[in-house]
Amino acid sequence: MKMTGKDYIRIDAYEKVTGRAEYMGDLVHKFPDLLYVKGLRSPYAHARILRLDIQKASRLSGVRAVVTGENAGVDWGKFPQQSRMAVTETLWAGQTVALVAAESLEEAKRAIEAIEVEYEPLEHVLTWQESFCERPKSVVDPKLPIHQPGKPMHFPYPNVAGEFVQQKGEIEKGFLEAAVTVEGEFWTEKRVHSQLERAAALCAYEKDGKFTMWCNGCGIHGVVKKALAAAFPQIPYSDIRVISPYTGGSFGNRNIPYVELPCFLMALKTKGTVFYEFTREEMFTAAPTNWVCATKIKLGADAEGRLTAKELRLIEELGAAAGNEAYTGRLSGSSTANTYSVPNVSFLGCSLLTNTVPAGPYRGLGTPDAIFGLELLMNELAEKLHMSPLEIRLKNIILRGEEDDYGEEITSIGVAQCLQQAAEAVELSVPCVQDGSEWLYGKGIACCGKQNGPNGRSEADVLIHHDGSIEVRVSCDNHGMGVSTALVQIAAEELSVEPKQIRLVIGDTDRTPFDNFSASSSGLYRTGGAVRIACRDAKRQLQEEAARMFGIPAELAEIRENRVYLRGTYVKSVPICELFRPLSMFEQDVWGLKQGTPVRGHGVFCPAQAVPWDEKGRTPRMWNWFQYAASAVEIAVNQKTGQIKILKIANAGDTGSPINPKIVEGQLEGAAHMALGFTVQEQLLYDENGKVKNASLGDYRLPLILDMPVNENVKVCICPDPLPDGPYGAKGMSESVVSAVGAAVAGALYDAAGIKADHYPMTAEMVLRLLEEKKAVHDEKERRQT
């Protein structure tokens, strides 16, 4: 029986098309005595709090608690940066200054309005350009350990928080061997995930003094519960239960429990049941954004187009991520290290602070931002060497079994196939025909790889009941990607039963086993691995029981299609349900399987740990495996308005062997749409106080259905290179597929109009500016000639 590699209908589809699926906001009516939490937020990107008076607010009707950074009685260092309250100084516009819990949302809002605050606005820095210098107007975190004397820095700038250096081969030698070199500086801008469901948490202070929290945050065990236990050490670990209902998207945004911790704090303060839901505006001002990458890159290649040297400087701009030493530019930089084989590499990365909301993971973990320039320079190399963008990429792709820049073996890489299929889908080799109108036409292609990282452990329980039904219990994240369906298919394949026989129980720390989180597209790989092991454990127990009943060795019993097939005995096969003996008042012996007591299989899957890097920043074990993608586009650029219209897009992903190809297609299509949005039109804008000024879905231009080409011009290609240790060869895939779109569009822009984008979003204003600059250069040349 083959249950993987099939388009099995999503297990959650029925509940979702009928409106039965319950999300966070749908739970509220179940708690009649609910209290509502609301935050007062700083209107200044950087300000000193001179006076904060909560007296009037505390006395208002319905108000049950008013908490400030000072009276909260917690160690803010243990809170996610986005939910740390300002104590004496606010570090970004949107930082919480006070929290209110009241009997109704209106009363909470009224109390917020009644809090009196006096600020002294201070200088702020909002962008990497303002912050990356010796004397920035604002030093975001003067306590950074990196500022301690005796620590030599490559960038001795006060807002640089961490650095990472990597050397491979000899960079000078690499450039000496190069026949051509290209270089450039590139950057990206701030964007928000804009998942449709806003961040929310509901925390109930139970009768027995325990806490139950429902939330749409990621990693109920490994992120939310762990963070709650760390921030509130007085609460025993087992007294916290975290439950995840259906969640309306995350894209990395909910990997940080920024709403869960304040919600728990207010439940603790009020000893009540509290609900904290961000408004859409708060999703722009107080929830994490992506982090911006700025890169300075130089590439060298020999006359055949083989890369000889790659020098990369990278800044990861993290917002006001004070005290964060884990980021060093290494995470974003990792995506520049896994696609092309380069003998001589020099990488220097750093993280940088600004007075904007602390950044967090955004689908791709910096890959779309970091590889933008690298991919555009590959096009420039190709042009100098009279090669095609496709040819130069294929020539330099790492082959399976070879190493990335870290020195780690790459066990699965299907990027060459992705490139070829994406190129074919838009007929890349056929130049666009210009029709003499105001529209110019062009095509572009780019590719990328995104690391997975071996962090995290996943467990699964599989219960086989006496009536033949099967229950799979897991705690992975379930934001809508389709992993739950794929897990059921994996269990069905392992146990050779129909998927409909399997019930998935997901997301309750009291009932479902440990799972760190599903970040870095790891849900299917890690939790899927655990489900396979748990199924095999349950099967082994059934085999042993059957063998015992019929007096044969366990290996002569085989489990499939709800039966045990036996060899070496007079019975050929028995239904599994008959292995369970009925229980009666008079028959209760201790051995054998009993009705009412399921067979329980348990599985743990945990990839081998990363190995610390050496003084050159290299290690044989760091990222585990890589997902690859290539995107190709055909665009039209309007010379008068600067508008970019996407005529065709092909998105190809090396997803490993797909468990459910239709679900994989959905990821490729959705990724194309999301990436077109953030590379062409989305961008956060700030007012003079450093506050986001387009903080609504009306002012922040998300892509709509009309921004996507018609269906026949959206091509998706699944190009699997099976992952040896992935379940049935599958691997995660949802991040690489957003990452190459930006560079493909910029490549097409050059093909169409001869203009070079050095950053995105490539808005109409930017295109018009580039067209004007090009015209000015052209006019100047003509003037000189005449």
Binding site: D7, I9, R10, D12, A13, Y14, E15, K16, V17, T18, G19, R20, A21, E22, Y23, G25, D26, H29, S61, G62, E103, S104, E106, R110, H193, S194, Q195, L196, E197, R198, Y246, T247, G248, G249, F251, T279, R280, H479, G480, M481, K662, I663, E665, G666, E669, G670, A671, H673, M674, S696, L697, G698, L702, L704, I705, L706, M708, V710, N711, V714
Partner: protein, 183 residues
């Protein structure tokens, strides 16, 4: 909803609505939206709220057969109207063809936009049973989806319009008539 004091007029109004075929008499403050009444009073939580300012479309319901964003309709405006939410689409005869098509074409991912997407599509097909792809895209332009890229949503609506998941016409006439005499 608790509103103990404040700037708003707190005197309640009485509204009659037929929601998903059932008659309701609702007493509510005049400033409350149809979205609030449907979700909080009638517990029809299939109506979602993504932004509260009409930009995401997740709160779309049918008012006398027309797709409206319920966050921008006051409850009083729905007095005497027929409201359909996603909960009203599945009957004892089974799922609506659009619901079946959305399931079978994988047009659902996180599912938060799905109820509104299906209702908007229903109002579109009820008025124009055989739309072109462009007409479908035009009809859905007020409904945001962050997951699917809309490809499979459009596919599902085209499939439902083709009749592959059952007759749509029977339901049409009834709703179109009602729609006509109110709007």
């Amino acid at each position: 909803m608790k509103r103990k004091e404040g700037k708003h007029n707190t005197e309640k109004i009485r509204i009659h609505m037929t929601v998903n075929g059932r008659c309701f008499e609702i007493r509510t403050e005049p400033y409350r939206t149809l979205l609030e009444v449907l979700r909080k009073d009638l517990l029809l939580t299939g109506v979602k709220c993504g932004c509260e300012d009409t930009n995401c479309g997740a709160c779309t319901v049918l008012l006398n057969g027309n797709a409206v964003k319920s966050c921008s309709v006051l409850a009083g405006q729905a007095d005497g109207c027929r409201v359909t939410t996603i909960e009203g689409l599945e009957t004892e005869r089974g799922l609506h063809p659009l619901q079946k098509a959305f399931m079978e074409h994988f047009a659902v991912q996180c599912g938060f936009c799905t109820p509104a997407m299906i209702l908007t599509a229903k109002s579109l097909l009820d008025k124009n049973p055989h739309p072109s792809e462009e007409q479908i895209r035009e009809g859905l332009h007020g409904n945001l989806c962050r997951c699917t890229g809309y490809v499979k949503i459009v596919e599902a609506i085209l499939a439902a319009a083709s009749g592959a998941y059952g007759e749509l016409s029977e339901r049409n006439e009834e709703e179109e008539q009602e729609g006509r005499h109110v709007f």
